[in-house]
Symmetry: C2
Subunit: 159 residues, 2 copies
DNA sequence: TCAAATCTTTACTTTTCAGTCAAGATTACA
DNA sequence: TGTAATCTTGACTGAAAAGTAAAGATTTGA
């Protein structure tokens, strides 16, 4: 259960845009430099995010990327869904071992856990907006835990 | 944010052992057949689980694998941690882009989310034992949601 | 119109993850 | 003791993910 490179970097690029401020735009070279990734890589990520409607891209001199919606309205759950190819739908067709279809046809205790887990993660992420990731680590950390705490207290019960 | 093949199949193999009953053992060919995976693959997974102390392996005729601890005491969070190489510790050293270390040194809003997310998942999984995955899908599904519901209600608030 | 800056798209390379194979080691039992 | 059944281990192969490169398209402004 880990976050993919695409999810991590994609999210970070969006945070850069949100940090730049309402309506402000950043170019590919700027984004690449600020996140310490190659311009090619940033280009691919921004293209995905643009295709998904999170950012507007304008070409030419004075071009760049800007958020298509206010950072306050962009939920992390939406972002992750796009950057991760939303695989849960076809889960039972993807881990089939050597068979054509999953051996647990029709009755499968594992499936509940996999799907349930996915729900939990999506739910947690749907309580966080992009704008809440802007700021110092301390501030963000406090915000994040408070949000999760209010909506269930799961994150704060252990360790 | 997805589950890896190793996590999925490893968990499924453990559930098979748990289903076999207290103290009962299964051989590699049996496990492979029941989960629809190759014997080679099952061998590798069971080796991992054995090394991690979840199962006892005995060689020779009449050999096989059996749970090293009661299924009631094995938490999913432990299992996933082993099958997933427990990557969260070194997170900041793994997604460094083209740099030697993460550009967000010292102050990083993203880190809170990544670590926080990991906490949420681990926490959810630490509320489920292996024994609770044994049974029909309907039963397991009910159990799973009830457990998550009690410990925070996260899983049941949406859709 | 032309050149520079910028995003877009496809193809390619590299790296990581999954899965397989084969030889080896151990045990039970006749 | 010997054979069959079983787990163990490391090397190998194939597939998927990550990242790079290069040529193309669009816009601005002189």
């Amino acid at each position: 259960m880990k976050i993919s490179a695409q999810e991590e970097y994609g999210l970070r690029c969006l945070v850069q845009l949100a940090s730049a401020g309402e309506g402000e735009s950043l170019t590919l070279p700027q984004i690449a430099e600020r996140e310490g990734i190659s311009q090619s890589n940033a280009g691919k990520l921004m293209w995905l995010l643009s295709k998904a409607g999170f950012v507007n891209a304008t070409r030419g001199t004075k071009g760049g990327y800007s958020l298509a919606r206010p950072a306050e309205e962009i939920l992390l759950s939406e972002v992750v869904k796009v950057l991760d190819d939303d695989e849960i739908e076809g889960h039972c067709n993807s881990y089939t071992g050597v068979m054509d279809s999953c051996v647990h046809t029709g009755d499968c205790g594992i499936r509940s856990v996999i799907v349930g887990l996915h729900e939990i993660v999506q739910n947690a992420l749907s309580n966080v907006t992009l704008s809440q990731l802007v700021g110092t680590e301390k501030k963000v950390d406090e915000r994040f835990h408070r949000i999760q705490g209010l909506s269930g207290g799961v994150a704060s019960t252990e360790r």
